[in-house]
Amino acid sequence: MNIVVCVSHVPDTATKVKIGDDNKTINQAGVTYIINPYDEFAVEEALKWKEKAGEDSKITVISVGSDNSKETIRKALAMGVDDGILLKDDNPRDSMGIAKALSEEIKSHKFDVVFCGKQSVDYDAGAVPQILAELIGYSCATVVVDLKLNGNKVIAEREVEGGREVVELELPAVIGAQKGLNEPRYASLKGIMSAKKKTIEEKPAAQADNFTEIIKMQTPAAKQPGRILGTDASAVPELVRLLREEAKVI
C-alpha cells in the first residue's frame, strides 16, 4: 500500500499569541513550533495501516511551508514514516493554496490513501482534506474518530453534533484525523537516529493564487475580570440572582 501523510508546522498550543508588526500574522519571536497535533493522529494511523498491509507498503510525509517545516517532517520520519517531501513556499497560503500545492504533488504519485489532520491549529479552517480530495478526485471523510479498512471499502466514523456518522467510502481516499482516532506513538531513540538518515526531497510548491486575503489580525478585546462573589456555598444565592436578573441567562 502506498500511503501519504500531510503535515503542518504550527505554533505550540501553549503559545500566547502576540500580533506581528504587519498586523496580519503573529509575532513569531519566542514561539515554539510543533507538528500540528491532529497530524500526529494522521501519522499514527498511517503507521498502523502500513503495519497491517505489510512490508512492501511505504509512507511518505509531505508538508507545504518554509525550511522550518523540515523539523516537523523529521518528527514524522522519527515516528516511522519512510521519506519526506517539502513543498517550499515562504509565503502564507490559505486552505485553497495549500490544497493546490499538495494536490499537484500527490497527483504525480499513486497513493492509495492520504491522511491529514482534520485541521491545523493555526488557521483552524479545517478545509484542506476536503479541497484536496476534490482536486485529486478521491473520496473523503474528515473529523474521523474510528476507521476500518475492508478490502477496498473504508468505514469511517465522523464526529458530528450528538453522535457519530458512520460513513462508507472507497479507496483511494483522503482521511482527516480527529483526536481520539488512535494514541500516537512516541518516537523511539532509534527512530530519531534513523530519521536523520532518511531523505527529505525539497522542491518549490506549485504556484497558486490565494483566494482570500487577511486584511488585519488582532487579539480579541480582553474581558474585564468579573466579581468574586464569595469563597463558599453562601455565595450561591447571590450568583443565582445575578444570573437571573443581571445576565438574564437562566
Binding site: 485553497m96 483552524d124 478545509a127 482534506p129 479541497i131 473529523v143 468505514i155 450528538g162 483566494f211 468574586i228
Partner: protein
Amino acid sequence: MAKNILAILEQREGKLKKPSFETASTAVRLASELNLEIEAIAVGNEITNLVEIGDYGIKKITHLKSDKLGNYSSSGYSEVLANFAKEIDAEYLLIANTALGKDLAPYIAAKLNAGLIMDAINTDSSPGEIIATRPVYAGKALVDVKFMTDKKVLTIRPNVFKAVTKDKNEPEIIVKEIEPTNLKSKVIDFKKSESKLDVAEADIIVSGGRGLKSPENFKLIEDLAEVLGAAVGASRAVVDAGWRPHREQVGQTGKTVSPSLYIACGISGAIQHLAGMSSAKYIVAINKDKDAPIFNVADYGIAGDVFEVLPVLTEEIKKIK
C-alpha cells in the same frame, strides 16, 4: 442576472434546525446590505418544516429532493449543490458552520473554484463587499478576511448570528426531484452519543476539570447540567486522563464554543481552554484557587470548593425552575 446570494439550509432527520434559520436571516441581511438577490436551498428527502423559513424573510426556497439524499453524503450533497449554484450563477454561498456545513463548504468551494472563508463570527459589508471576521489559533486572535474571487463561499458560526423573524410569510417552495450520481461517500448509520446535548450546540455548558478529582465526581456536573438543560463540557486534562469522552472537550484541540452561559467548575484555565470558551456571553468560575486564570475571564466567580458549592447551586436552581 443580478448579483445573488444562495443560503444553503441544513436539514437533519427531515427538519430544518436553528442554524438554518440563522443562515436564512444572515443571508437576508447581507442581501439587503449588498443589494443582492436571494435564493435559498435545502437538500434532503422529506423536509417537514420548510415553510417556517418564510418567517425569516425568505420568499422562495428550492428543495432538491431525493430518497438517496435523506442522509448526508458529502459527494452527493456537494455535487447537487454546486450544480445548482452554477445554474443560478450564485456569487455568494452562505452555510452554517455546523458539522455538516464545515464538511460540505470546502467541497463546494473547490468545485466552483471559489474563495472560502470558514467560521465567520462577524461580517462587515460597508466596503461594498463582505469582510468576514473569524477566529484563528482557537480564538486567541481574530482575522478580518476578504475574498479575492468572483465566487465566494462563507460559513458562519452557529449561535453567533441572530435568527430574526420578520412578518409571517408563506414562502414559495419549489421541489426539484433529482437523481444524485455521485454517492462515493455516504452515511450508512448514525450512532447517537449518550449525552443529550452537544457542547457545540448548547446554549448553556457546565464544564468540569481536574478539580473534580475523579471521574465519578462528574455526577455533580451532570446534575447541575440536568437542571439547567445544559451540555456537559470537559477540560483537556480530564479528557486525556480518560475521565470524559473527547467530544466533550472544550478548547484548542477540542471544541470552540460560544454559549450564553459557561460554568467552569474545578478548571484552572489553561490558555488552550480559555481560547475555546472566552467568547461565551457569561462565564461563571467555581474554583478553590482564587488566583486561577479562569477568574480573569469570568463574569462571576466563587473561589470555593466545587464539592461544597455545586450541590447547593443545583438545589438553588431547581427551586426557580
